[in-house]
Each structure stands twice: as C-alpha cells, then as structure tokens.
C-alpha cells in the first residue's frame, strides 16, 4: 500500500463537495425583489463596458447608472438594478462599491422595451473584483425546530 508522504496535500472529498454546493447556491440563487421578472427579457444577456455616472444605495433596489457605447458607437446611459442594501451587503456589495468615473464591465439582463434599462447579473469593477447575485436573502429557511 502506498503511503502518503507528509508533504502530499490531502484532499477531502466531502470538503470539495461542500464548496461545490456552496458555490452553486451562491451563483444560482436569484436575488429577492419586490417585483417579478415581467419587465425583463429573461432570454437575453448583454455584457457592457462603461463608466459609472451614479450609484444609488437605496430601497427598494440599489441601482447603477453608467455610460456605455452601443454597436453604432452612440453612448447611452444605462440604468441597471440589483437588490436592496440589506440583501446585497451579504455578498460583498457596499455603498462604496462604485464612484463616479469608475470603469465597469456589467452583465445585464435588459428590459423587453429596448430602453437602456435592466438588472445586473454580475459586474466586474476596475480592480477586478466581481460582484454577483450572491445569496441575497434567498438562503435556506431555518431547519424545523427540535421538539
């Protein structure tokens, strides 16, 4: 039987599974919103690069405004929402996440109307930090109480 040397990294398959499940939850659980998806084209996603013009940290939703060029080279001011401060602060978002003039790359689900409006799937900041949908408030309910 081959023995592991002391320097061999030991991988714990259970730990790997736990991280796998945790990352799946983090990347797939949608943020809770006070409204549903009726306004949005859920079949479409756009990746836009632009410059932040405003970051509003407020209820019922935080939203980001940024200038980005469309395919014809025209600059449009996009307005894209994310969750409320309480929920998104759990996954790394903060009042200080953006300042005017920051370069951002935003993955957006646009509205059906064609207006430069949508909701954020993820955003990459100038320093490389990625903010995603995170666990929001959609984490599991407490387990049933022990009688």
């Amino acid at each position: 039987m081959k023995r592991l040397s002391r320097s061999t990294p030991v991988k714990n398959p259970l730990l790997g599974l736990a991280f796998g499940i945790a990352s799946l939850v983090v990347t797939t659980t949608p943020l809770v919103a006070h409204h549903g998806a009726a306004s949005f084209d859920t079949t479409k996603e756009l990746t836009l690069q632009g410059t932040v013009t405003e970051w509003i940290w407020a209820n019922p939703h935080c939203f980001l405004k940024f200038d980005a060029k469309d395919d014809s080279g025209t600059v449009r001011n996009w307005v894209v929402e994310t969750g409320n401060p309480t929920d998104i602060s759990r996954s790394g978002w903060a009042r200080t996440s953006f300042k005017v003039g920051d370069m951002v790359t935003v993955n957006v689900q646009p509205v059906k109307s064609g207006a430069p409006v949508g909701r954020i799937r993820s955003v990459v900041l100038a320093n490389g930090q990625r903010l995603g949908q995170g666990p929001g408030r959609g984490a599991p309910a407490p387990p049933p109480p022990q009688k």
Binding site: V32, H34, G36, S39, A58, N59, A115, P145
Partner: protein, 263 residues
Amino acid sequence: MLKRLIVGMVVMVAVAAALTWVPVTYAQVWNSHGMIGNEQPPQTGPAPKRDLTGTWDAGGAGIAPRGSPTSSLTPWGEKKVSSYKPGDGPRASLIGEINDPLSTMCDPAGFPRNLLFELRPFQVVQTPNQVLMLYMFEKRFRTIWTDGRTLPKDPDPRWYGYSVGRWEDDSTFVVDTIGMDEKTWLDNAGNPHSNDMRVEERYHRVNMGALELTVTITDPTAYTKPWVGRNKLPLKLIPANVDLMEMICSGTEAQEYKKSMGK
C-alpha cells in the same frame, strides 16, 4: 510523543477559542442584515414560560415575494383586486405599471402584510401590560395589549389595526387584531382585504431558540372562507446584541427608482 501531545492540546485550545470567539464577534457587528444562517450555535433547551423576548428571524422564508395562496375571493374581493397591479404573483405587472402602495409610494405595509411579505428579523419586548413587536422591515412597531382589554367596537381603520393578546398556555401566545384599513394589500401578489378582516396570530415557543408563527385571515367580505397565510413558520432566536440594518422605504428614493427603471 510528548511533542505530539502538546501540539494536539494547543490545537484543541485554539479550536475551542475560535468556537467561542466567532459568535461573539458576529453578534457585535453593527448594521447586520440579521441573517444568521448556520453561523449561530443551536439554542435548544426548554423555553422560558410566557416569554417571547428576543429577536427572531424567519430567514428566506420570511420574505415570500410571490404572495400567499388564499381561499377564493368573493365578488367584492374580485372587484377590489381588479384595480391592483402588483409586482409579483399571478397578476404581476411591468415595473412602470405597478401600483403597489408599498413599493411605489412607500405607504406602510400595514398589518398583516408585514407578516406575509418581508418578515425580516423582529424584536419582541414584553412589558407588564403589552407585548411590543419591533420590525426591522420599515423600522415599525406594533403594540399588542395584554392588560385584559377587549377589542374596540367599530374602530377607526388603522394601518396596523388594534391588537390584544393572551397566553393560551405557557408556550402559546395568541393575538387577535381588527380594524385594518382596506387600502393596504395583504401581500406582494396584491391580495386584497376589507375593513371587516380579523387576523389571528399564534406564536408557539417550541424551545429556547425556536418559535412557530401561524397567521389566519378571516374576512367574509373579501374571501369565501378563512385561510392560513403562515402555517407554523419557523423562527430562530438571534443574538440579543445584533444591531439590525434599517430597511426603510423612502418616498423620494422609490420615486427615483420608478422614474429610472420604469421605462
């Protein structure tokens, strides 16, 4: 051998120190979202008698963004709901068309919407003649009288109604509420109610760290029969020194949101 023993003891002490230190630092965080997840050690053991004191959290189940399944609407209820354009649920509207008074105007959620939608952590304070419920969402409070008074006759409608409570047994607190203004919605799906609605809340303290909430709506003007909006919703006790975030809807911020996003 001795070296291994010493190393083992050091590791054990470090782990024990970490286990006791983590909850304390968590509890002392300012501006907490209140979501405890699995960070909190289980709080089991017998519950104190006739006592709901503490801060309670229903986790994600407290939000219920899609609304509640109700019993059938009466013709009055159908007429009432026909002008409601909710943001979610079976009758969900586009953002620019939503007329939910809570999300578009920041009207108070009202009672029992504050239990059926966005039930974020809330603190219970007991005095000799009242049970006070302090809600993180909207940063509002309710007074539940326990001094033996009866509910008022033909009261002026209020956003949060008039509540009296009694201990049915040492672990079950029952609250009856009437007098809610029918301009409030019951949930995020735009389910209506009338001024005649009566609501019963049952808080059952299961053990030290667990509470169950059942909410029953009786409104014969709007619904053909009573229905249960929360059925033994589990709530967990969170640390008493957690400082909860504000979750306040401001009219100016909501207007700015709708103007920007409702295109």
